[in-house]
Amino acid sequence: MSATGIGAPVRRKEDQRFITGKGQYTDDINRPGQTYAVFVRSPHAHANLKRIDTAAALRSPGCLAVYTGADIAADKVGGLICGWMIHSKDGSPMKAGAHPALAQGKVRYVGDHVAVVIGETLAQAKDAAELVTVGYEALPAVVDLASAQNPGQAQVHAEAPNNTVYQWHLGDKAAVDAAFSNARHVTRIDLVNNRLIPNAIEPRAAIGEYDSGQDSLTLHTTSQNPHVARLVLAAFIGLAPEHKLRVIAPDVGGGFGSKIFIYAEEVLCLWAARKVGRPVKWTGDRSEAFLADAHGRDHATTAELALDGDGRILALRAKTKANLGGYLSTFASSVPTYLYAPLLSGQYNIPAIYCEVDGVYTNTAPVDAYRGAGRPEATFVVERLVEVAARQTGQDPAEFRRKNFITSFPHATPVIMTYDAGDYGACLNKALELADHKGVAARKSESARKGLKRGIGFSAYIEACGIAPSQAVGSLGAGVGLWESAEVRVNPTGSVEVLTGSHSHGQGHETTFAQLVSERLGIPIDQITVVHGDTDKVQFGMGTYGSRSGAVGMSAIYYAIDKVIVKAKKVAGFVLEVPGDTVDFNQGIFSSKATNKTLTFPEVALQAYIAHKFTGAQLEPGLKEGAFFDPTNFTFPSGVHICEVEIDPDTGATRIDRWTAVDDFGTLINPMIVEGQVHGGVAQGVGQALLEGAVYDKNGQLVTASFMDYTMPRAGDLPSLKVDMVSTPCPSNPLGIKGCGEAGAIAAPAAVINAITDALGHEDIAMPATPLAVWRAAQKSPARMAAE
């Protein structure tokens, strides 16, 4: 292993500019003649728009324009799309209402976009926005997920009767019903997977710009996938042809999924830039982020597990209602369906699985992918079920899991997926040892002496990452392919630029991707630049989400490097005056059995460009190659997390005393960055379990609309984490990478709740397990069912 190659804990190259304030975030960019956009947003969850009076706003100093739904309709601006078609179990396509960038006659959540005001300055735009008067006719709001589908409820969209977007299912219902009828024990639980608000450090922002000379548009925006944004803005929203539209996503300060989607604000900045003939900038404030960034999770599930008399799992059944909010966001339909139910086998050999999911409209912010996207919801279902089943049948939770682990690979589950590699028992063993599981009883006694309740909780999670084989997802309704592209450009002096369709918004790609190149071309890491996030520089790409950049994005780079090496060997053959097929390349040196001369990589690069040693008939000059990589399977990161909590029953305060994470991410490129991803993921998962929860009141007003009421995890909420790895390389990509970006957020919630319920002695607590919730739960007496 070289000091900067694969497996080295190289310090992040990008941190120099981030920690010295030299990052270029969208709000750092200012364009000549720039104007400012401010949005007039609905204060009602559900209302008819009777009239919008813009006259006073237009008279306000510095106000350049006010646009409403009528203006975008007149310009035939296309609506925002949902890019994954889900079919209901009766075969009918999902019932989606229109999603205009500015409301057309009706608003559907607090924060919905009613008008956009363009001002010379931000303050003037805000002043003018206050003068826009809107006549609303308030309608009853649909807020409660449980009752949203009841007859007689208000209708969010006329296209979706009973607010039901789809009634989807997966699995073999008959086989599952048969298994349950033969079961010796059935465990049944009701779960709520609480709604989360993403809260990346950098709020969303956009600058639209029109070049009348070129008749082209440029959008600077906070995007995790600028090429997909360009495709949607061109092909569906119709703002400009693809070749006349440039999307630049510079440094982006966190996304967690919320910056995958194509939102109204960037559409309107781009469209308005052409209308006013000047650049239009919008930077969301934190209040807007709370109201109008796509939220995450929000499931209500009833789940059942059937066991035989030996404690083996026979079948799993789940019925889920998924809150999709007031409109279908870009990938909203796929998250509670194909990103959720195919993971319900967990790490376990479960012969039969059946899952039904209703996608439901409500008068709340749109809900879409958030770190883990469907897989945290599935893991929470599986790992709560397994834990409760073990407790109910008097089995040790760790050994019950071990007994049901999948142990041979490949393993086809009953719900689409074929797991390719893993060693779940090895992760469990290592985690039990690191967590000092043998000492739990003694620690519980010690806590009890202090009047505290200690509990331990496991989460043996699996996820499907490396998203995704294009043909497979196409057959499931995806509107796009999910391959990745890369181009490796070698300069004449031997330095390298890697152009990638992946997008880094905190993941450290500028370091890890450079490590791959350093390893394979044998050149120093400071000779490598990673270029991403600009549709004029990188030809195409699918962006970063679903823990795909390592497994898919780096694989594309890997194969582009293969091609570079093939070409470089030919060049070296001409220079060394030996047959090209005798040239070896190893650790940056070209050599041949036919000569004792050698060449370095920069020497060959120079020869490729000066082209003095071969003719144009023999070889094309230059050294630049590209590759598209389409994976043949998902990747399946897995692991075991163990959480140990101590609860103060007097106050309900829960303190996480210990956290152990043993993950199998396959090959690690940079173990320091991987550990950081585990830390961040666990923090977000602990946030969901203990702290975070979006609350709407019955009128659809967001109660948790600021950090005064929405609790983000803080450093003090977490102990020092014990993180270790097991590695079974992934066989479906050349590097053996599985992906690590979402694991902690997927694993953590079940581990926390399993620990709290262990401490309480009963299962009756929902997330977030706030002090209030835990104090209430601690009032109930332990009611663990006896072994059957």
Partner: protein, 265 residues
């Protein structure tokens, strides 16, 4: 934020003149409530009168049996003060649990007291200690000063100059923070002076900070956490929100009261 005039007087007299001349002016004494409210365009003061350069409003002194703290003394200055530590060590603990380090280096005791946020920490401490709040016009006993949610006895044109705290025999403060804001979900301050006990509760009451007569009677009888073992608090007078309902707050008052007494020693 709407436009406003900014003034930075050097003396209380100049500040008072500016205040008298600007009916819609606000005093800036840390700004942790005022500035966010202005940024959200929920407040529109005509002028801001920044007290940060008024030297006579700063400083911490021991004067006989009282600790005297200038109104513009920051929370971190209180927390770090050896004078405070020797006179009322429990007050260091109060200052140390306000907000976070950024807040503690900008926020001031006078600003906190004048704002009388129903979940602020200082009002409970001042009420339990029987403090006197001095203004440019008069002196007001803490018992007469705090008038409900964000309401005080301060009149137009009145500026808090210093807080005088009688040094007690014992004083402790226990706070259960709101998980999100870290304001007090329930904070209880308990002080013993001679045979008298004073207990004040913040964060919990519908009408803001309040004294707890039952707790005071129990502690006057026996200054110990055990004496509060069966302390009852009327839940109908408690705030209720997503973080804590009234029953939970009423329960926490008892828990925090016992912990405050335990902390006082």
């Amino acid at each position: 934020m709407y436009a406003f005039d900014y003034h930075r007087p050097q003396s209380v007299a100049d500040a008072a003149k500016l205040l008298a001349a600007n009916k819609e002016a606000k005093l800036l004494a840390g700004g942790h409530t005022l500035l966010p409210t202005m940024k959200l365009r929920l407040a529109k003061p005509s002028a801001i009168i920044d007290l940060s350069r008024v030297a006579e409003l700063k400083g911490i002194d021991r004067k006989g049996n009282a600790l005297v703290i200038g109104a513009m003394t920051t929370h971190s200055e209180v927390a770090d003060s050896s004078v405070v530590k020797s006179a009322i060590p429990g007050l260091v603990a109060v200052a140390n649990v306000i907000g976070d380090p950024h807040v503690r280096h900008r926020g001031t005791i006078g600003g906190s007291v004048a704002n009388n946020d129903p979940a602020a920490d200082y009002p409970a401490a001042l009420l339990a200690l029987g403090a006197t709040i001095a203004t440019n016009k008069r002196e007001i006993r803490a018992d007469d000063f705090f008038k409900g949610l964000f309401a005080t006895a301060l009149q137009d044109g009145e500026i808090i100059t210093r807080i005088s705290l009688p040094v007690p025999a014992k004083f402790g403060y226990a706070k259960f923070p709101n998980p999100a804001s870290r304001y007090a979900l329930v904070g209880v301050a308990a002080a013993q002076t001679g045979a008298q006990a004073r207990v004040a509760v913040t964060g919990a009451g519908k009408n803001g900070v309040f004294r707890h007569p039952a707790a005071e009677a129990a502690l006057a009888n026996s200054w110990s956490a055990q004496a509060l073992g069966s302390l009852a608090t009327n839940a109908s007078q408690m705030l209720s929100d997503i973080h804590a309902d009234a029953a939970y707050r009423a329960h926490l008052v008892g828990v925090m009261a016992r912990r405050a007494v335990a902390a006082a020693g």
